[in-house]
């Protein structure tokens, strides 16, 4: 199933991140100069003041990039979510087959207690435990 993505939006998100990265590269060249011990103090102060809007702008472009990314990935995310739901159903169905066998085992276990020619109170004592197991397994199957 090919996702229907607005290619222009995809370019917008990538474009914003590229812009942010370019601004951060420029900021790095300012930083090198500021942290260089040979740069005069007055220049450092001036460069520091000039560098602030560059970093702010990079941050803004990143925000816009994230915003565009969430819009452009909306369709793939919805499709993946639906695939996740379907996979959960498949897993549940496979699990149910095992549960059906467990329930059959529980029933045979109860029958084994009740079908003996002479029922003794001692053997009957295990019944509540067996019925509880059956109840749990049926509950698991229903859930």
């Amino acid at each position: 199933m090919a996702p229907s993505i607005n290619k222009q939006q995809q370019l917008v998100a990538k474009g914003y991140f590229t812009l942010a990265n370019n601004y951060l590269d420029v900021y790095q060249t300012f930083s090198k100069k500021i942290q260089d011990p040979t740069t005069p103090n007055d220049d450092k102060v001036a460069l520091y003041a000039q560098s602030k809007p560059i970093l702010q702008q990079a941050y803004e472009f990143q925000r816009m990039g994230f915003k565009a990314l969430t819009v452009e990935l909306n369709t793939p995310v919805e499709e993946l979510q639906s695939a996740v739901d379907d996979a959960a159903k498949t897993i549940k169905n496979i699990f149910r087959i095992g549960k059906v066998i467990e329930i059959a085992a529980d029933l045979v276990g109860i029958a084994a207690v009740l079908a003996v020619p002479v029922i003794k109170p001692v053997t009957l004592a295990v019944l509540p435990k067996l019925v509880a197991e059956l109840k749990n397994d049926v509950q698991d199957l229903k859930s």
Binding site: P3, I5, Q10, A13, K14, F17, A20, N21, L24, D25, Y27, Q28, F30, S31, I34, Q35, K44, V45, Y48, S51, K52, L55, Q56, A58, Y59, E60, Q62, R63, G65, F66, L69, T70, E72, L73, P76, V77, E79, L80, Q81, A83, V84, A87, A88, T90, I91, I94, I97, G98, I101, E102, A104, A105, V108, G109, A111, A112, V113, A115, V116, P117
Partner: protein
């Protein structure tokens, strides 16, 4: 009659063995797919980098201690570290995290479906056989046990078509969603790559501030203040230690997830042993890379 029965039994047994062999030959062990998917799910669930990015303003307050120590200059206290004026809203942060969580949920379900224990009905059948043996019967005990074990073996055959069905579903899940996984992982990877750059430049921003502020507000020039200056600087660098490298590994791991998923989409249909062995070996490598990126990431952002 006895000969006929024996022939019928051996023919049936032969048929069952052949069917089992054919079915199992088509069902490669998916544990490498399961391990790769589970580790990918775990990696994708880590959204600390997004929180970290959104809280730069809060983080800059860590340096208030240094600001407080600097003496006022011409009656003015030094400014704090420059942080972004606007911050992402809660909804924006949640929308970004949702991209990661859907990737994590997908990988987690793929891992569960690829888990070979999912179709293992043997334990349940053993319980059934055990209870069957307890039922009263006219048959001699030894014979009864043999018959019940035979029933159990037949019921265990349920596992085989289930296994084929599960392999079909794993393959379908991967092939149907390959394009979406590619878009999602590549989009997230570009975003994390940009955060990686941002983390490095945040360190520079703090160091720039420290450089300019300590020049504007010099402490007394003595040994102890020089020592304090170096100590503060080292502590600032320490704060950012490992974060850039961890984000680099994280975004590379996302690209590995995309490439490995694509490889599975192409090769998982080929269950001949050679191609599956190659695929399994590349998935083991991918899993190791993802685990290492995850450890690095957790250490850096814990």
């Amino acid at each position: 009659m006895l000969l006929y029965n024996t022939f019928k039994l051996s023919w049936f047994r032969g048929f069952v063995i052949t069917v089992c062999f054919l079915l199992l030959a088509g069902c490669a062990n998916l544990e490498t797919v399961r391990d790769f998917a589970k580790q990918s799910a775990s990696l994708a669930s880590g959204s600390e980098a997004i929180d970290y990015w959104g809280k730069w303003g809060e983080r800059s307050k860590r340096f208030d201690v240094v600001v407080a120590r600097l003496p006022p200059h011409s009656g003015k206290k030094p400014e704090g570290v420059f942080g972004p004026i606007t911050v992402p809203t809660k909804d924006e942060i949640s929308a970004i995290k949702a991209l990661q969580s859907v990737l994590s949920a997908y990988m987690s379900k793929l891992g569960a479906l690829a888990d070979d224990n999912l179709t293992d009905v043997s334990k349940q059948v053993d319980g059934l056989v055990e209870n069957l043996n307890k039922l009263p019967s006219d048959m001699p005990e030894e014979k009864l046990k043999k018959v019940n074990t035979a029933y159990g073996t037949i019921i265990k055959l349920v596992k085989l078509p289930l296994e084929v069905y599960r392999h079909y579903e794993v393959r379908k899940l991967i092939q149907d969603n390959d394009e979406n996984i590619k878009l999602l992982t590549e989009g997230l990877s570009s975003a994390i790559a940009s955060l990686e750059k941002f983390s490095e430049q945040e360190k520079n921003s703090v160091l720039n501030w420290y450089e300019v502020t300590t020049n504007d507000y010099p402490e007394d020039k003595n040994f102890s203040s020089a020592y304090q200056w170096e100590k503060d600087r080292a502590s600032i660098i320490q704060t950012y230690q490992g974060k850039t490298a961890a984000l680099e590994s994280y975004q590379q791991a996302l690209r590995t997830i995309s490439a490995s998923h694509h490889k599975m989409a192409q090769d998982l249909g080929l269950f001949d042993s050679d191609s599956f062995k190659r695929l399994a070996s590349s998935l083991v490598d991918a899993r190791d890379q993802i685990v290492s990126a995850q450890n690095q990431y957790r250490k850096a952002f814990e």
